[in-house]
């Protein structure tokens, strides 16, 4: 069963192809991370899947309904949290939630009960009756996501849910998404943050210039660009040569100095473990003072670089994607 199924989505703005034949399949109950730099087409994809935008060509089904011809049916089964906390600032948190409840035609007791439930879950009880204008950025995001859950959507779309949040609020948001997912909600998440996809997503689709350039689990993607590396730091740079010699028999490729460092070595190793204790022993034997030894799996940043030849611009936190 797929909660989201899209094939050949194309959307062109003026001369730019925001989407260039995107295919997506999201199994029910899983979290898909839609990963790509600014302007890759992530937001356009979400806008089409949430019925806000019509594709020029291609088709998509969400929760079993066509996003173009059965848009209302889709809308009643999805939740959307966009890049900007879309709350009514001059209403209180409670009123915002009840407003959405009204739009879903819940009667008064039901919408008030649901609002209370969500206020409690999202730690907004104390500020429930203050207008949202007075909320912090993290509180607004929590209210925003709570608003998209009022009608218990089966598919939740989160467009860069942690962009602009401080680390603590981001952690809180991640916990929320994990809980939703464990409740069985299908989540489609766009992000520029590689660690976010790493932590939350069951599978990842990497898009660049409106098309899919890779997909799979995070681990599969990492494997595609080569295996683990051992990273060895020593205290004294003069021991570097003997450390290289000691590591030689343990590694499977050239030993390199980590860029920007004079005391840290990087080298590929075979997957499967056992290398770290051996390395420590060998380094001890040759008299190099070891500061740190670790095994590093490649990050999604490395994945992106190797797939596209350019970096995912994950540092442009506040820039928005307009296309």
């Amino acid at each position: 069963m797929y909660a989201v199924r899209a094939s050949g989505l194309v959307k062109t703005y003026d001369q730019t192809r925001a989407l260039d034949g995107l295919d997506l399949e999201v199994p029910t109950g899983t979290v898909l991370g839609l990963l790509g730099p600014n302007g890759a087409g992530k937001t356009t994809a979400v806008r089409i899947l949430t019925t806000l935008l019509r594709p020029d060509s291609g088709s998509a089904e969400v929760a079993g309904h066509d996003v173009v011809t059965q848009a209302q049916a889709v809308r009643s089964r999805i939740g959307l949290t966009g890049q900007y906390a879309a709350v009514e600032e001059r209403l209180s948190g409670r009123e915002n939630l009840e407003l959405v409840g009204s739009f879903f035609r819940l009667d008064r007791p039901k919408r008030s009960a649901r609002a209370n439930q969500l206020l409690q879950r999202f730690d907004l009880v104390e500020s429930a009756d203050r207008i949202a204008k007075t909320y912090s950025g993290g509180m607004r995001r929590r209210l925003d996501i709570a608003m998209s859950l009022v009608a218990r959507p089966s598919v939740l779309f989160l467009d860069e849910p942690t962009t602009g949040l401080d680390p603590r609020s981001r952690l809180g948001m991640w916990q929320v998404i994990e809980e939703l997912s464990s409740d069985g909600t299908t989540v489609v998440l766009t992000t520029q943050y590689l660690e976010e996809a790493d932590r939350l997503a069951d599978s990842v689709v990497v898009i660049d210039r409106g098309a899919k350039i890779a997909e799979g689990t995070v681990d599969q993607l990492k494997d595609r660009i080569g295996g683990d590396k051992i990273r060895v730091s020593i205290f004294d740079p003069s021991n570097l040569a003997s450390a290289r010699e000691a590591l030689g028999p343990l590694v499977t490729g050239p030993i390199e100095l980590e860029s920007g460092s004079t005391t840290t070595l990087l080298a590929p190793i075979k997957a499967g473990g056992g290398v770290v204790p051996q390395a420590i022993r060998a380094l001890d034997d040759c008299g190099a003072d070891v500061r740190d030894v670790e095994v590093r799996r490649p990050t999604l940043d490395d994945v992106f670089l190797s797939l596209t030849g350019h970096r995912a611009e994950a540092d442009t936190h506040n820039s928005s994607e307009t296309s």
Partner: protein, 276 residues
């Protein structure tokens, strides 16, 4: 505690919006949206100030400053001539709230949120324009009170007084739809502010609202005479002063209907395509 998002059944939802949207559903959605704005209105002191203070200022300024200087044939008292013009201008100006409010919702992503809900396409705009009409009624009552203090009186029948007032409110409501279209089209709150207001100055001043158009330069007179706003002012003025409102009344009603139909269609179409 969990989020309790596990229940997929729509049993909690009053009616499954997927299957059918009835007219009653649409009206209910529009009422919900209107309720949002009406609830906010008293919490927004600057807007309330604009609703009350600006109209009072207009009535006072025009009456006191121009009252002594301007003479209009057929009207012994300038206030009797002026007030319907001021009323009409103020409620028509009031329609700009629709443009600015929608542009604001759009820029905050609220329109996206509303468009992702299973509600009637027209509900958001109907609700918005309706709440702006309520605001205009408030403004109207305040102006009327000030005008009465200054000595303005209804010289015609009660039906004329009520009819003239309703006509002005209806006309301004049709303008709310122009403004809805503008607010969804211009792209920013600042632009909406300018785009909603600028064109209403020539529209309301090159008219019979403040002076007799026959005192204007020759080339401007036909413009002023056929201006829909002149038709509105003339009709309301006649109704307030117990004179025969035709044919201006029919013209004013015609314009109201025509503008509403054309711009409601355009605005609702725009709404279903618009994106932040």
């Amino acid at each position: 505690m969990t989020i309790d998002n596990s229940s997929r059944a729509l049993s909690d939802v009053g009616s499954d919006p997927a299957t059918s949207l009835t007219l009653a559903d649409g009206l209910r959605d529009a009422a919900t949206e209107a309720g949002r704005h009406l609830r906010i209105m008293p919490r927004n002191p600057e807007v309330l100030g604009f609703v009350v203070i600006q109209p009072v200022m207009f009535v006072l300024l025009f009456s006191v400053v121009f009252g002594g200087a301007i003479e209009v044939p057929g009207f012994a008292d300038y206030d009797q001539f002026l007030m319907p013009g001021i009323f009409a201008q103020t409620v028509v100006f009031g329609s700009s709230f629709t443009a600015v409010g929608l542009a604001e919702d759009l820029s905050k992503g609220l329109i996206d949120r509303l468009r992702s809900l299973p509600i009637a396409r027209s509900a958001v705009l109907v609700g918005r324009t309706f709440s702006d009409l309520v605001r205009n009624v408030l403004t109207f009552v305040v102006m009327l009170a000030v005008a009465f203090v200054l000595g303005f009186r209804f010289e015609g029948s009660i039906a004329g007084a009520i009819g003239g007032s309703l006509l002005m409110l209806a006309f301004s409501y049709s303008f709310s739809w122009i403004q809805a279209w503008i607010g969804l089209s211009v792209g920013s709150v600042e632009a909406a502010n300018a785009a909603s207001f600028t064109w209403m100055f020539p529209l309301t001043f090159v008219s019979s609202a403040f002076v007799d158009p026959s005192t204007m330069p020759g080339w401007l007179q036909p413009v002023a005479k056929h201006n829909p706003f002149t038709r509105l002012t003339n009709a309301a003025r006649a109704l307030y002063n117990g004179l025969d409102p035709s044919p201006d009344l029919w013209w004013a009603l015609g314009w109201t209907g025509l503008i509403t139909v054309i711009f409601a269609t355009m605005a609702i179409r725009r709404f279903s395509q618009v994106s932040k």
